[in-house]
């Protein structure tokens, strides 16, 4: 495992410019603060712990990825932050105020396509603005601007079922951003897309994040996605769910796909691999199968 053809630096070694950027981020105001969060499922007698003791500070304009194996409770975590689920312990503070339920200050993009099928693309983006009580003219104009930003101005009058998966998620992002939330919560938003579209969407997301004053908390199980997008990566483990490590992403910005083969990227990815997919014991993973093949064509 340890020998690789060329030298990979330690993932904790940050280039001076990158280190300086992290220093600047840390001095910014804390937008969202998660303190000792705990979630148990089931009745108090036979309850199962989804995760325990999760603490996390997110600074203004930071891009945080939460990554972890399935079952570590990362989706539950983001749902609690959004206010859609209740925690059984600890608290979530947004700008210092405790979060009690869902609200427009925390925009959310879900993995499934949650566009309203009865509304056209523009009306979908207008939804949050209408809920705020903005007058239709203003809401309409703002919605058009947001659609322009995600490059879907042409499709403002289309219905969601007429769009591809990537386009639907772009509309969902525009719809969440139109409310000008303090933080944008994204729960594996590109998980249902094909690989090519996903890469494109990641690049779009970085462009949008650059232009819009928003902080992003992004859940994923894709190591490369986390390494490509995030400033900081929160690695969670399972059984019980917990935070294993905070990683400052050493890959300098602006990010390009060319960096996928850079030393920092590989170092980070290797560390993430170790954390998420620990080397399994060969014996345990072997299925108790008898040999059914006729040899001569053995596979390895």
């Amino acid at each position: 495992m340890s020998s690789v053809e060329f030298d990979i630096p330690d993932y904790r070694e940050l280039a001076p410019a990158v280190a300086a950027r992290f220093e600047r981020i840390r001095q910014r105001q804390v937008i969202l603060s998660v303190r000792g969060l705990e979630k148990k499922f089931g009745a108090s007698g036979a309850s199962q712990t989804a995760f325990a003791d999760v603490s996390l500070d997110i600074h203004r304009r930071e891009f945080i990825c939460v990554i972890g194996p399935s079952g570590c409770g990362k989706s539950t975590l983001i749902r609690i932050i959004a206010g859609l689920d209740d925690a059984t312990g600890g608290e979530v503070l947004l700008d210092g105020h405790s979060v009690t339920g869902p609200g427009p200050d925390r925009g959310m993009v879900f993995q499934g396509y949650t566009l309203f099928p009865w509304r056209t693309v523009r009306k979908n983006v207008m939804f949050g603005l209408e809920m705020q009580g903005k007058d239709p003219g203003t809401a309409d104009a703002e919605a058009r601007q947001w659609l322009d930003m995600v490059g879907l101005a042409k499709f403002e009058n289309a219905y969601p079922h007429e769009l591809s998966g990537g386009m639907k998620q772009r509309v969902a992002i525009a719809r969440a951003l139109a409310n000008e939330p303090r933080i944008l919560l994204m729960d594996e938003p590109f998980g249902a897309l094909d690989a090519q579209t996903r890469c494109q969407m990641q690049s779009y997301l970085l462009q949008i994040w650059k232009k819009v004053d928003v902080t992003i908390l992004f859940i994923t199980h894709d190591l490369e996605e986390a390494a490509y997008l995030a400033d900081r990566i929160v690695v969670m483990g399972s059984n019980p769910g917990r935070v294993v490590e905070f990683i400052d992403n050493p890959v300098p910005r602006p990010r390009t796909s060319a960096q996928f083969l850079g030393a920092e990227f590989l170092a980070l990815k290797r560390r993430l691999e170790e954390l998420i997919h620990p080397p399994f014991e060969a014996e345990e993973e072997r299925l108790p199968m008898v040999k059914l093949t006729a040899a001569g064509d053995d596979v390895e």
Binding site: A82, G83, L84, G101, P102, G103, P104, R106, G107, M108, F110, G112, T114, F116, P117, W118, R119, F127, G128, E130, M131, Q132, K154, F155, N157, A158, Y159, P160, H161, E162, L163, S164, G165, G166, M167, R170, A172, R175, A176, N179, L185, L193, T197, Q200, M201, A294, A295, G296, D297
Partner: protein, 379 residues
């Protein structure tokens, strides 16, 4: 081929031999080109048929019963259990235009021949309650133009109008309460737990059982008839619509909540629009049920509407009019449902790609699917 195997495999069971052979040698059957999904394949399991074939089959589905009816009506040696007398001969109780069972006719005929009297004449006929298709077809016109026998009897179109009025007012009354209650039950657990157990019980009480009660309370005119249809429709309506509303994707509601919707706005802007097209479909089905209750309801109190017409015509033994009236009910119901389906596709454009209430559409497309002006590109 066996020589190519490693030595340890020479005693392999025959199945291994076969596998090795078929993998290395020629495949036993020549490669066939993949079959196109067209041509002879009327009985494909997975794919729907092309529109032209669907239309042909829809036509046939009406034509086949009609053909069966024609065969029974116009082929003298199939069924025809009676003989229509054209000349009574010397049989004293035979009369012209009289229908007698075939056995009686044959017995009398044999008797007359033995006695040397004039034999009766006649042709084989179906019983009067099975008129031939052409007679019923003619009745479609004549039933509307024939003046009622008694001055206080309604014309056919008046009977129909009366029935349609009854059913629409009953359905309107039922829906005014049933739809909002169903939406509340589907949205809030509170209303669901409070209302549905009783409604679930009440819907097992057959609506016609309330006939006598309705007459006692509401008199003998239209009141009890409307009440029975309301009783028959309302309770189903609440439960069906409650279920439909419960099926709204919870992810849509959550998405709306994260966008700032709550309370009444959540209900009005998300739950109702998300379920309105399915509620519309439910209403179409419920309107069909209301027609079933209509016939029962019209017998209560003074018989009225189309049921009165049918009963009266049956009493006069104008069975072709009876058939015509029944078929007219079918046509009205079917046509109104198709009209409602068509309207539904106009007012719910986002549903235009989905299936209709009765499964896959069989009628030709009347509206093009909505396509945005610019071509769609991937992502």
């Amino acid at each position: 081929m066996a020589a190519a195997l490693p030595p340890s495999q020479e005693s392999a069971p025959p199945i291994a031999e076969v596998r090795t052979l078929s993998a290395g040698g020629k495949s036993p059957s020549p490669h066939r080109p993949t079959r196109r999904a067209s041509g002879r394949d009327w009985l494909g399991l997975k794919t729907d048929l092309p529109p032209k074939r669907r239309a042909v089959l829809a036509f046939l589905s009406f034509l086949l019963p009609l053909a069966l009816w024609c065969v029974v009506s116009y082929t003298p040696w199939i069924w025809h259990p009676y003989v229509r007398i054209t000349a009574p001969g010397d049989v004293d109780y035979f009369m012209e235009e009289m229908d007698v069972p075939r056995a009686d006719y044959e017995r009398e005929w044999a008797k007359m021949q033995m006695e040397g009297s004039t034999v009766p004449e006649g042709y084989r006929a179906n019983p009067p309650y099975l008129p031939a298709p052409h007679a019923v077809a003619r009745a479609f016109y004549t039933a509307f133009t024939t003046e009622p026998r008694l001055p206080n009897e309604p014309w056919l179109h008046e009977s129909l109008g009366h029935s349609i009025r009854t059913i629409l007012s009953a359905f309107l009354i039922s829906s005014l309460i049933g739809v909002p209650l169903g939406v509340l039950c589907g949205t809030y657990r509170f209303f669901s737990r409070l209302q549905e157990p009783f409604i679930e019980f009440f819907r097992y009480l057959p609506a016609p059982a309330f006939g006598a009660l309705c007459v006692a309370v509401l008199g003998i005119d239209d009141g009890p008839k409307i009440a029975i249809i309301v009783i028959g429709t309302f309770f189903q309506q609440v439960l069906v619509i409650g279920n439909t509303v419960r099926k709204v994707d919870p992810a849509l509601i959550e998405a709306a909540q994260t966008l700032g919707a709550r309370g009444w706005k959540l209900l009005r802007k998300v739950v109702i629009p998300a379920s309105i097209s399915d509620i519309y479909t439910d209403m179409r089905i419920l309107l069909g049920w209301a027609w079933t209750y209509l016939i029962v309801a019209e017998v209560v109190g003074t018989m009225s509407g189309i049921t009165f017409f049918i009963n009266q015509q049956a009493r006069y033994r104008n069975f072709e009019n009876v058939y015509a009236a029944i078929i007219i009910i079918g046509i009205i119901g079917f046509a109104s449902d198709m009209l409602l389906a068509f309207i539904g596709r106009i007012i719910f454009p986002w549903k235009r790609r989905t299936r209709s209430a009765s499964g896959s559409r069989w009628w030709p497309r009347m509206l093009p699917p909505r396509v945005p002006s610019a071509p769609l590109s991937a992502a």
